[in-house]
């Protein structure tokens, strides 16, 4: 009991007085550390860590935003390209269509003109034939009247008619 309280003996003894000193010193030490030193350091480190974390996060966000913007730009560019191509294609198609249309129309017109011309020729021909017929009839009548007027021999008549007809065909 005495050894336990007063120590002084071997290395394995527990010294109460010493322990009380150590306890008091330790409590004072811990109090002082907790009051004047450690909280400031913890706070400063926390602050710094928070700031670093925040700036990293904001940098990441900025990168993300920039990436998004560039992606959008690229997308817009691609879209514009696609649209331009489409427009070009449409224009070409339109032009082609227009060309074929015009060609068709021209062909149609040409054929129509030809048709018209043919028709006109046909009509003219018909009319000419009719006129010719009329003319021939008239001539026949005329020649008949001439024949009648001359009352001459049939030989002479025949010659006259032939001569007339021969003139006619020359005309």
């Amino acid at each position: 009991m005495i050894t336990f309280l007063t120590g002084g003996g071997g290395i394995l003894s527990f010294d109460t007085g010493f322990a009380i000193w150590v306890l008091i010193s330790m409590l004072l030490f811990l109090w002082a550390m907790g009051k004047f030193a450690v909280p400031y350091i913890v706070e400063a480190l926390d602050d710094r860590e928070k700031r670093i974390k925040d700036s990293l996060e904001s940098a990441e966000k900025a990168i993300e935003r920039a990436e998004k913007i560039s992606q959008e730009n690229e997308k817009a560019l691609r879209e514009a390209e696609v649209r331009a191509q489409k427009i070009r294609k449409e224009a070409i198609e339109e032009a082609e269509k227009l060309r074929t249309q015009r060609l068709d129309k021209a062909k149609e017109e040409a054929s129509k003109i030809i048709d018209d011309a043919k028709k006109a020729i046909e009509q003219e021909k018909q009319r000419a034939i009719i006129e010719l017929r009329d003319e021939v009839a008239d001539l026949a009548v005329k020649s008949a009247s001439i024949i009648i007027e001359s009352e001459l021999d049939s030989e002479k008549n025949k010659k006259i008619v032939e001569k007339y007809i021969g003139n006619l065909s020359k005309n």
């Binding site: 309280l5 527990f14 007085g17 000193w21 030490f29 550390m33 907790g34 030193a37 913890v42 480190l45």
Partner: protein
């Protein structure tokens, strides 16, 4: 990587613990006749020694309800009120009443104070720097500041945050860091020529462990106490066995903490003194020539031991802090029931 390191340290710890008692036993033999006083180097003294100058420290005695204060041992003896008893090293009152509590300032107490004060000063200076914005607004500047921050962040992140769950760890950073730094300094003081490791005293380590014990119990959650007295999911009869085991476990943890630090620090000092003492023993036995020549071997061996001891000084401070954090963490843990098994696993892992 951290688990590998932890396992390595724990293995080393096991190794150191099995080695220490043998060293203690072999050196506890009486040295009174030898040319070198090994025990005198590791015992507590009533003087503070530096550069071979001894400063005798005040003696304070508490006997029978009254306090006696003397400038040093000699003045206590001169006053006639105290005399040396027949037993070596004991002082009793002249009427034969033994000293009830000896509050004397001893060499180890002085070294304890130096360690504690140095820790406080360094931390205080660092805190001032942080308050001035160095390290908080900018990066830490200078080697010492960086070194300090490495240690602080190490204790905070790898010890406190790692083992104490949730945001609770913030409350314990102060204690863990203070203890880590103070113990490191006290351990390293043992390497100085006239230095004494305050932690090579069972009194100091036991007091430190007691503080850890109190903090552990105070921060114990309902689950912690429930586990001790009403182990959940266990038949009532088994509880009769388990509850005393758990209660004993409450005390064995800090006990192991105290013994481990104490034994490691003491054994290192004894080894160094013993091996250096071999020079004088050889001189005594085989003459000066052989003594001095063999000194080359002993000095080389001592240098090696110094390196080992410097490492162990930091290692033991780390282990004390780590285990304190683990014990506090286990008590403060509010575990959901599914991770119950894993917490027991870590507890047993640490218990070795």
């Amino acid at each position: 990587m951290p688990t590998v390191l932890r396992r390595f340290f724990l293995t080393l710890l096991l190794f150191l613990l099995t080695v220490s008692p043998n060293v203690l036993a072999s050196d506890e033999s009486d040295n009174s006749g030898s040319p070198i006083d090994v025990m005198g180097k590791v015992l507590d003294h009533d003087y503070f020694e530096m550069f071979n100058q001894k400063i005798y420290l005040p003696r304070i005695f508490y006997v029978d309800g009254s306090v006696y204060l003397y400038a040093n041992t000699q003045s206590a003896l001169d006053s006639g009120e105290f005399v040396r008893s027949e037993e070596e090293g004991f002082i009793v009152r002249s009427d034969g009443t033994p000293v009830f509590i000896d509050f004397s300032i001893t060499s180890k107490l002085v070294w304890f104070w130096i360690g504690v004060l140095l820790t406080f000063l360094i931390t205080w200076i660092a805190a001032k720097r942080y308050k001035n914005g160095v390290g908080s607004k900018t990066e830490p500047k200078g080697t010492l500041h960086n070194l300090f921050e490495v240690l602080f962040v190490f204790v905070r992140d790898d010890i406190a945050k790692e083992y104490i769950p949730g945001e609770k760890y913030r409350k314990y950073v102060n204690y863990l860091f203070s203890v880590f730094m103070a113990i490191s300094f006290m351990n390293l003081f043992g390497l100085l020529p006239w230095g004494v490791s305050a932690t090579a005293s069972l009194t100091v380590t036991a007091t430190l462990a007691a503080i850890t014990f109190v903090i552990t119990q105070v921060s114990g959650t309902k689950e912690y106490w429930g586990h001790i007295f009403m182990f959940p999911g266990v038949p009532p009869l088994v509880r009769v066995i388990l509850t005393p085991v758990e209660i004993i476990g409450m005390f064995t943890k800090p006990f192991a903490l105290a013994i481990r630090l104490f034994a490691n620090m003491l054994s290192g000092k004894i080894m160094i003194v013993s091996i250096l003492g071999l020079i004088f023993i050889f001189t005594d036995m085989f003459g000066a020539t052989l003594g001095v020549t063999s000194g080359i071997v002993w000095v080389a061996l001592t240098a090696l031991l110094y390196i080992l001891k410097a490492f162990i000084a930091l290692l033991q401070a780390y282990i004390f802090t780590l285990l304190s954090a683990v014990f506090i963490g286990l008590a403060a843990e509010e575990h959901a029931h599914e991770d119950h098994e894993s917490s027991v696993a870590t507890a047993t892992e640490v218990q070795i």
